[in-house]
Assembly symmetry: C2
Homo-oligomer: 656 residues x 2
């Protein structure tokens, strides 16, 4: 139907980015993190086109505007910076600007010595029309300029007045209510979270191993005593494996033995027993008061306690009796345990998300989060989210964040790329990654490009971990101290979010179970005693790195990475520049944990917005040394037993 066409709006707006799945999901930013929007904006013919970015907090009626800058090939760009947590919206508007077309044409014709008297009359008409769309002071100013323009007898003067800056700006402002302004057909969403969504340092440990003396079950009170130590290392999130009552039925023994022996504490991921479920606290850890004391005391150190959200039940979890319809039952009357044939996980029951009572189940599962949020927990590490439906996460995270936008979710998904990406789209704040298995320069570069140079950058925030209780990669097993330091530096500088399973890492423990990439005598199944007073060169370097991260905004972002070149394949180098301010950091890591490596690395000056010919100083934030460098290619050597990396702050005359 011809009536469905806006026949007189000639502008086309296409290919707007960021745009996640055609706008089905929001892009993500944190408070005060700039959001650059690009679009193709053009019209038929040769008229001048203008474009602007419109943005607002969701729920507000009025748009705020930013004029877009023309880049090349009909591509335009503008940046806005969301200032509050929650949902924001943006779209693009464009119009054919007859005043600017006239302005440009007039100048060209006059310079071509054509008589422009009729053109001057046309200009007067355009200005009159513009003035009629303005009110008050602005209308008056435009009318004054218009009269000056048309009162001029000299064509040359009139042509000059037509190019007046104030006149141009006033005429631009007449488009605010112009019916011929075309708006992009979609309003796109931006999900804005607090800064810790983008910049965080996680320390994982088992609170039951927090005791100062061997043989005793650790408590939350013990954890409080560890806060100064963890704070000195610069972490701002402490993540605990599940703290709930542990199933007694089919409990696992040490080193994942099928049957527990007397006194075995079991896996905390086998949640629930006669003593309670996901809203309980395992009684040896302490009381709710103890837990809240820990949460509050941590807050004084700038540290948050993150809990584990593991949607599975021990066979003796109260849910099994209270809501049998939420589980799968076998023809022999037994409940279905988790399995990945032929493997069986008999201490754990999955929820059956296809059950008819799914709505009540979803609500109860969300209620677990609300329960802990009410007790001061604002960050959840979600266990295996990829084995529960995406629709559940989409609903649950949105429902929680609607009331509590400060709540963050880390997806513990080590699975196929599309699945990991989808979890980011449906709402997870951060995600575990493949970093742990990316070792060579090529692997690291390719992975960083996948994460930061594709649409993935808009919705998937990586969190790099060199190890977890489940993962002891071979390079740590074989690599000792330099390997631990090198991998930790990579994690903490490549990604603005990083974390580690702490005690084993600090103490350089790297003994695997036979033929497995997993720690032997794993804390998952037994208590451990740690000498919490001990400091190592690894823990000192961790403290140094986290401090460097706090002092260098460039390292507080991930998408700003520029991977660069080196003439020695063992050297991996990249640079980061803060989106706001001028902080520039260059990282060089020797990927060979054993031998000194030296060579020339390229500082990507052009990508950092610097001239290719430049004298500058780089200050190594790890060693304290300063080097005088010149142009792009410069020499480095790294002895892993001393320090396997440089973290160089670039100081140039125009960089302060």
């Amino acid at each position: 139907m011809i009536q469905n066409y806006e026949g007189r709006k000639r502008v086309v707006i296409e290919n707007v980015i960021p745009q996640v799945e055609c706008g089905a999901y929001p892009a993500k930013r944190t408070i005060n993190e700039p959001c650059t929007v690009e679009a193709d904006v053009f019209a038929d013919g040769h008229d001048v086109v203008q474009a602007r970015l419109a943005f607002r907090q969701a729920g507000k009626k009025q748009w705020q505007y930013k004029p877009m800058q023309f880049l090349i090939n009909d591509r335009w760009s503008a940046t806005f910076t969301p200032t509050t947590e929650g949902d924001w919206e943006y779209t693009i508007q464009g119009w054919v600007d007859h005043f600017l077309s006239w302005q440009h044409g007039l100048k060209k014709k006059f310079e071509d010595n054509q008589d422009v008297s009729v053109e001057l009359q046309i200009g007067r008409q355009l200005m009159e029309e513009g003035a009629s769309r303005l009110t008050g002071k602005e209308a008056k100013r435009l009318t004054k300029l218009m009269n000056q323009f048309s009162d001029t007898a000299e064509q040359a003067t009139a042509v000059a007045l037509a190019q007046d800056r104030e006149l141009t700006e006033l005429m631009y402002s007449t488009h605010d209510k112009n019916q011929d302004v075309k708006q992009y057909e979609k309003i796109l969403g931006l999900k804005v979270e607090r800064e810790r969504a983008r910049f965080s340092s996680w320390y994982e440990f088992f609170p039951r191993s927090a005791a100062a003396e061997p043989g005793r079950h650790g408590t939350f009170r013990d954890c409080i005593r560890l806060l100064p130590r963890i704070s000195e290392m610069g972490f701002d999130v402490i993540y605990f494996p599940p703290i709930h009552a542990i199933g007694e039925k089919n409990r696992k023994g040490k080193n994942n033995a099928t049957n527990a022996s007397e006194g075995d504490v079991g896996s905390p991921w086998a949640i629930g027993s006669r003593l309670g479920g996901h809203k309980s606290i395992q009684q040896d850890l302490g009381s709710f008061e103890d837990f809240e004391a820990l949460v509050n005391e941590a807050k004084n150190y700038g540290i948050e306690i993150a809990l584990d959200y593991a949607l599975q039940c021990a066979p003796d979890h109260p849910y099994v009796q209270e809501h049998p319809q939420w589980f799968k039952w076998r023809p022999d009357g037994t409940v279905q345990y988790a399995e990945n044939p032929p493997k069986k996980y008999q201490d754990v029951l999955p929820f059956n998300f296809e059950n008819d009572d799914w709505q009540n189940m979803w609500k109860e599962l969300k209620d677990i989060i609300d329960f802990w949020v009410a007790r001061g927990v604002k960050i959840f590490r979600v266990d295996n989210p990829h084995t529960k439906p995406f629709a559940f996460w989409e609903w649950m995270i949105a429902a929680v964040q609607k009331k509590n936008p400060e709540v963050l979710f880390l997806a513990e998904a080590f699975t196929k790329p599309r699945v990991m990406e989808r979890l980011g789209k449906v709402g997870f704040t951060q995600s575990y990654t493949y970093f742990t298995w990316r070792e060579t320069r090529e692997e690291l570069e390719e992975y960083m490009n996948d994460l930061t140079k594709t649409e993935v950058r808009e919705y998937f925030r990586p969190n790099f971990w060199p190890n977890t209780p489940d993962i002891l990669p071979p390079h740590l097993t074989h690599g000792d101290e330099a390997a631990h330091i090198s991998r930790m530096i990579l994690a903490a500088t490549l990604s603005s979010n990083w974390g580690m399973y702490g005690p084993v890492y600090e103490f350089g423990i790297n003994k695997p179970m036979p033929a497995k990439e997993e720690y032997v005598d794993n804390e998952k199944y037994q208590l451990h005693h740690w000498d919490w007073n001990r400091r190592t060169r690894i823990s000192e370097t961790i403290a140094r790195i986290n401090l460097i991260r706090k002092e260098n905004e460039a390292l507080q972002y991930t998408n700003n990475i520029v991977v660069s070149q080196a003439d020695n394949a063992h050297l991996f180098t990249f640079a980061k520049k803060s989106p706001v301010g001028n902080n520039i950091v260059i990282v060089v890591v020797n990927l060979d944990f054993r031998w000194k490596q030296a060579g020339w690395i390229k500082v990507p000056l052009a990508e950092l917005g610097l001239p290719n010919h430049l004298n500058y100083r780089v200050h190594d934030l790890l060693s304290g040394h300063t080097y005088h460098w010149q142009n792009e290619w410069n020499y480095v050597e790294l002895e892993p037993s001393t320090m396997p990396a440089h973290i160089l702050q670039l100081e140039a005359p125009n960089i302060s």
Copy 2:
């Protein structure tokens, strides 16, 4: 709202291609051209997922289905072939297949020597549920197989029966009506046009220059006499510049002189005079009867007459008096002519598409097309579509094709890439391209990749022209016969749609206007006499090439191109394989028009679906020679004065 979620449908369907601008516009195919659809389909957890392609003619209720094949990384693919002209639709469906999950799990557990008696009971339940969803013969067959399975005493036999192929197929068919089948949220469109949309050979000439004897204005009757000649050269579209009454006011003279002299015929693009407008015929060309005779006689040769659709008016076009509101008027009471400041085009008035009467104007402009369609014209070459609003084209083309899906539109747009692409999206069948200015191997390869390896391939059908009345590229000016042959072979083999401004090309005329890339004494502004009896080596090669195109399906497609390598930078080589059948053609062109060039070229055997180690024959369809080749790299030499190209048909033992 939780109710808005399909909580039990666990499958995710994403990134479906082809998909033009998030589904806003249809992809394009021709009748019987396969359409391969890909999608990411996956679910949470470890269950087996299945996916299928659903497709139908638009307006039909029932979907047809094709099972999708798993590729890698959750990517699936299936192909359907539209069999009729008009709009088609497709989407993707997916489901978690509990039967297949059970089947795989059962096998693994049995092989692990576990007792599977409960699993066998679960299988029985699944089959019962499946049988309840089938009717008639199928339900009976499934019940029979189910009973055989559960009557079996031996576990080993039951496990074997569970894998039965017929059982598996019957269980697959139970998903036709399964409520847990998830459908992709969009239904995507496919616009299917007749074959000539994809495979066409165009010959442009000015009918007024068709006279057999010098000095006389050519007529449609003269054109009829030229049909055998044009047919022998293998063309199937004859395109005429506008055939309407030519404006008398501000008429242009020879070589674009501002003022016509007595007897000057004017530019046919200055349409309309007291003698009529876009629905008139310039009286010297003949009558409507003559025109229809030409259209009908051409049809006997398998040739269609394409008309020019040029939306502009001479100052004396009847529209200017009848519909003054469709034009722009200047303050001095004169009508606005076309301009690109400081240039003026005073013989031509543009329509003002922003006028208030735009709906009536759109309808009248569409009526021009309908008028000529009623007189047998089914192809229109549209003059400068990029200077008229995209919304108009979108509406007009859809409205015309709704009644006459056989009508095709070629966009004469030589402008910015996003604008050219947009015209393809909004409905143009084909478009002119940048081919004319792509000369080196790198330029040709990059351009072919832009056109055929990006989303552009789905909606933008290139039509390659080595020249037009407006464009005489320097390589033709400086290159003589070998250049004409080489560029024509490139156009006709790189692109399945190609065309030429014929007489000048055949006769190797290449004299430019001083300092311009345009023919001197251009037919646009004057009559020309051609010796229509003359044959040249160029015209003979044209005939040969068009015959080769007709006999080799591989050359009837463009997106199937595989550009390959050569060790001599002057040699450009590529291969094409027909999507249906096994026709393979390898083209090698010497881009140096002057000197013999020789070297090794790589036949991309793997991309053509052939083994890397292969003995095969290639038959040069230009020279008639046959060569025995081996593996990928083979030697060629091309002497431009003999023939600047090979067009090699590949004959291998398994290629017939």
